[in-house]
Amino acid sequence: MNNKPNLPEEIGFGKLNLWGSWRGSLYKGGAAWMFVVYLTDIPGDWLIKHHPGWPPGLRLLIALLPLAASLLYVRGMAQWIRGMDELHRRVTLGAFLFGTTLYLVFNAGWPLLIRADVFSILNLTRWHLERIPFYNCTFTICLTYLFSGLGYSLFNRHYK
């Protein structure tokens, strides 16, 4: 009888071996769809910019492909979390809430920093921090995942 619950470690949370966890978790938690987002988002953006004459339907399809893959990734992740035991489900949901909230804070706060010209004041203009693409699917998923991993490490410490 296989009634082993899904573990957050299997999708890379709380692990330092990033390469190993990426390879091992490709078919877990909808991670394959996450890679589809990575593979279609930036190339799709490039194609749309460099081929303004392409039919609107094709352009729309290219533009929406990463979004569709993102939704499938979220669905896969939700199913993965449902397969966890109650402790890990609680910690993981808390971690994703933490990650999403922190992402929203960054997303909302970054334009304020730009408006206040903070990067010029701190002499950071050469890093072009005002160009961070918060609208980009790849960037959104990566940053939210990173923040969620941080949240998981924080919340999981209590139960170790």
């Binding site: 009634n3 082993k4 619950p5 573990l7 035991d85 109650e86 402790l87 890990h88 209590h158 139960y159 170790k160």
Partner: protein, 65 residues
């Protein structure tokens, strides 16, 4: 919440992993319950009680009782 899980598990000579497999949870969850760091759900309390053939009240007690 206090509990007698560690003693009951030891009496059966099960490791935390053995008990976790029987309950369908992770070893970390069993450890967190035994060390009273985690207040589990009622369905899991029923599972534990059924596994040890005892009532919930015999295994789990509220703090101060």
């Amino acid at each position: 919440m206090k509990n007698k899980l560690r003693g009951l598990r030891a009496a059966k000579e099960w490791s935390q992993s053995d008990l976790a497999d029987r309950l369908g949870v992770s070893r970390q969850t069993v450890n967190a319950i035994e060390t009273e760091k985690y207040d589990h759900s009622l369905p899991l309390a029923f599972k534990v009680a059924r596994l040890f053939k005892m009532s919930i009240e015999e295994i789990f007690q509220r703090d101060g009782e």
